[in-house]
């Protein structure tokens, strides 16, 4: 099935455009906008509005028609394997399946002073319009900040009965993060905390494969938001709980 945009008639290919050009508003500028839209492949271009944004910029609203069609049958889209729940869905999931608030403790450990990663996941404001765990009603989140010693992180996690511990590692010079992450796992095992709580690591040079090799439950790399982490933690805990039954 060949498809084209629909304005008011089947197959008319009508498209609405708005853009700014770096020129002073005048007749010539309007003509330039029309020609520019034509260059984009539209025909019957109508520049319906032009407004000066300053002496040097003009804003245009234009309509054009396109001949370009697309065979819809050939469009392929694979649903993401790691489908991730929204904040609200995570909260509902926790309410329904775990029936209590989850406790998550996070920190940037070792000598690493970069809180940007752990803050993006945990801070109320979150990152890029993805709210952080502190905003999740069904999660009690504790962000311990940066340069937190592994011992302190674990003792805090034990104190608040954490369900999951999040570790952020930004600095990776001379593989310092590997050493630090290994130490945390060893400490957790020595203190018999390993079965008690999930260990999750994140950072720009981290992925799931590396994390598992190091003995973590999961690893998250660039582009991760709080809902990814929350989805993982909630589902994993639920899995464990159902497994125990």
């Amino acid at each position: 099935m060949l498809i084209k945009p629909y304005g008011d008639t089947s197959g008319d290919g009508a498209v609405q455009l708005s853009f700014t050009l770096p020129v002073k508003n005048c007749g010539r500028a309007k003509e330039a906008a029309r020609l520019y839209a034509q260059k984009l492949g539209f025909h019957k271009v109508d520049v319906v509005h032009a407004a000066a944004l300053s002496e040097e910029f003009t804003f245009f609203v234009a309509y054009g028609k396109t001949e370009v069609g697309l065979d819809y049958d050939k469009v392929e889209y694979a649903e993401a394997v790691n489908d991730c729940m929204s904040m609200d869905a995570v909260n509902e999931f926790i309410k329904t399946h775990l029936r209590r608030k989850l406790v998550i403790v996070g920190a940037c450990t070792g000598t690493d002073a970069h809180t940007v990663g752990i803050d993006a996941i945990m801070n109320m404001k979150g990152y890029n319009h993805h709210f952080g765990l502190e905003r999740y009603p069904m999660i009690e989140a504790f962000n311990l900040g940066s340069q937190v010693p592994n011992e302190k992180l674990l003792s805090y996690a034990r104190q608040v009965k954490a369900d999951a511990v999040l570790v952020s590692q930004i600095v990776t010079q001379k593989d310092v993060h590997i050493k630090n992450l290994t130490e945390l796992v060893e400490l957790a095992e020595a203190e018999k905390l390993r079965g008690e709580m999930l260990l999750v690591v994140g950072g720009p040079r981290v992925n799931n494969k590396l994390a598992k090799e190091l003995g973590y439950d999961a690893g998250f790399g660039p582009g991760t938001y709080a809902e990814h982490v929350a989805t993982f933690v909630a589902r994993k805990l639920h899995e464990r709980m159902s497994g125990k039954k």
């Binding site: 708005s18 853009f19 700014t20 407004a51 944004l53 300053s54 002496e55 040097e56 910029f57 804003f59 809180t115 940007v116 803050d119 801070n123 109320m124 404001k125 319009h129 502190e134 905003r135 009603p137 962000n143 311990l144 900040g145």
Partner: protein, 530 residues
């Protein structure tokens, strides 16, 4: 501002009761503040005495001095800087260079206090003249361009990361009708325990607040202002770990407004509460002295919590912010208390609740230049719906006489504003402001209508909450998550190690000057009007 007759039938005794509770809440915190200083207060003091510049690696001179002082900071850093000026017989500029090259000024034996006091007097006089000059210049520009503050003032944001690109966008926006330009800071600057130095061209989602960047934008807005025949106000962020230092820089470079909240850093940036309370006091004294309008951050409560259920937390915070600001010698006319239009657009009568809340704020804070924030939480990729929501926001803003209106962008949830987004926002606001110019005087509300009942309910809930906060104490209230549903331990958060109990003989000539100028401690702090 003209006195407002209550259209919502709010009870005056209840409003007075709420203010009284806020005063009781602030009092023990103020006692802590008065006995403490912080590393950034000391650095701000040094800056106001002339310390500036940075090493080739970018370490600011005020930070170098603070490290040299180490534990001596509890006695005040000023004396070491002043002593070095005397001992080395240098101007501040000369001394700054030597410090940046490695001179340790704490090594010099301290000369007698009399000479240090004389030197301090000279430095403080210079600072006072510069700040007073800035105030006088602003006032004369404002008077020349029509005097009284028009309402609402149109506030827009630039956020390119590059100060020179910011200038282009800011000038375009001012040319189209923006009255106020805010330069958003780069992600996480609030967590840096120093202020970067010089002009900057790289940032993430914003531009570094530096004194040089302040200067560049100030000059650009002055240029556009004189072309447009309007004074264009400049805003930055006096928040985070360097609150007082940003205030100092803003006072020196004639910024006009500063985001400055007594609790925002604690709740939303996890900065230690003792640090934040102490810092906000000093920064507000500087802002008061420089006639800089503060903008508080109550809008953030509503992006966190439900705007209908938690409306009273906004009013409670406004009252607490107001009291802390009064304590810092700030008059009401400089208190841009914040609130926001953040009710779920799907909610029936949501508009009436927004209208009631905004009008309630106006009636409770008649002399305050209220800062009204646009919808953000429920903005989506549907820019057309977003534009409609912004129109209603503009309506409420005009209909309730808000003073500072941060315009909503139709692309709020998508990207930092394009040039055209700002144009559309300003066009929308100017249209609404003009077409309903006299609306406010035309309407009254039913005594038992939805709006009046709503406002009374919020005030009642506020009193209930403030009573609870008073009972627990503000520190404990924050620890238990009473604000924005966020819990912060009193000894947790960033910057706690930079808080010092003032040692006997603590010396800070800038603080002494500010307290005297603002008559702090001379008049009862209970005054509820500035």
């Amino acid at each position: 501002m003209t006195p407002v007759k209550s259209k919502l039938g709010l009870s005056k005794p209840k409003i007075a009761k709420a203010r009284e509770l806020a005063a009781d809440i602030a009092a023990p915190v103020q006692e802590f503040i008065d006995g403490h200083t912080t590393v950034t207060i000391e650095r701000a003091t040094l800056r106001l005495l002339g310390a500036d510049g940075a090493t080739s690696d970018g370490v600011p001179v005020p930070n170098l001095i603070a490290s040299q002082c180490a534990d001596k900071l509890s006695g005040g850093a000023a004396r070491y800087y002043l002593n070095a000026l005397i001992k080395q017989d240098r101007t501040p500029a000369e001394l700054n260079k030597e410090i940046a090259c490695g001179l340790d000024i704490t090594k010099f034996e301290l000369t007698d206090l009399g000479r240090i006091r004389n030197k301090a007097e000279e430095a403080v006089k210079g600072m006072d003249a510069r700040i007073a000059g800035n105030v006088a210049h602003r006032n004369s520009e404002l008077a020349r361009n029509g005097g009284a503050m028009k309402s609402p003032l149109i506030y827009v944001i630039v956020a390119t990361g590059n100060i020179y690109e910011d200038v282009k966008q800011a000038q375009a926006a001012a040319g189209e009708g923006a009255d106020i330009i805010a330069v958003i800071r780069t992600t996480a600057q609030s967590l840096l325990d120093y202020v970067p130095y010089g002009a900057t061209t790289e940032g993430f989602g914003g531009t570094y607040a530096t004194q040089e960047n302040f200067r560049i934008m100030r000059a650009a807005l002055d240029e556009t202002g004189s072309k447009e025949g309007r004074y264009i106000r400049l805003v930055n962020y006096c928040s985070g770990l360097c609150m007082p230092e940003i205030a100092a820089m803003g006072a020196l470079e004639r910024l006009d407004m500063m985001l400055n909240d007594s609790m925002y850093g604690i709740l939303f940036r996890d900065i230690n509460m003792y640090r934040t309370f102490t810092d906000q006091f000093f920064s507000r004294m500087i802002n008061s002295a420089a006639d800089i309008i503060i903008n508080t951050g109550e809008d953030n409560y509503l992006t966190t919590s439900d705007a209908v259920e938690k409306a009273h937390t906004v009013l409670a915070s406004q009252l607490i912010n107001e009291k802390f600001a009064f304590n810092a010698g700030m008059p009401a006319r400089l208190m841009g208390l914040g609130h926001a239009y953040e009710i779920d657009p799907e909610l029936k009568n949501g508009f009436l609740y927004e209208y009631a809340q905004a009008l309630m704020a106006r009636e409770i804070f008649p002399d305050h230049p209220l800062k009204y924030m646009p919808p953000t939480k429920f903005m989506t990729g549907d820019i057309f719906k977003g534009y409609a929501m912004n129109t209603l926001f503009n309506f409420v803003s005009r209909a309730t006489g808000q003073s500072i209106e941060l315009l909503g962008m139709l692309t709020e949830a998508i990207h930092t504003p394009y040039l055209q987004d700002r144009h559309l926002a300003i066009e929308n606001a100017l249209y609404v402001h003009n077409t309903m110019a006299g609306f406010m005087d035309e309407v009254e509300f039913k005594k038992e209508g939805v709006m009046a009942r709503r406002a009374r309910q919020v005030l009642d809930e506020t009193i209930e909450m403030l009573s609870d906060v008073k009972r627990r104490g503000l520190f404990s209230a924050i620890e238990t998550g009473m604000f924005a549903e966020i819990k912060r331990p009193r000894d947790g958060g960033k910057g706690f190690d930079g808080v010092y109990e003032k040692a006997p003989g603590y010396y800070n000539p800038v603080e002494d000057f500010l307290k005297k100028k603002l008559e702090i401690g001379r008049r009862p702090r209970a005054a509820s009007r500035g």
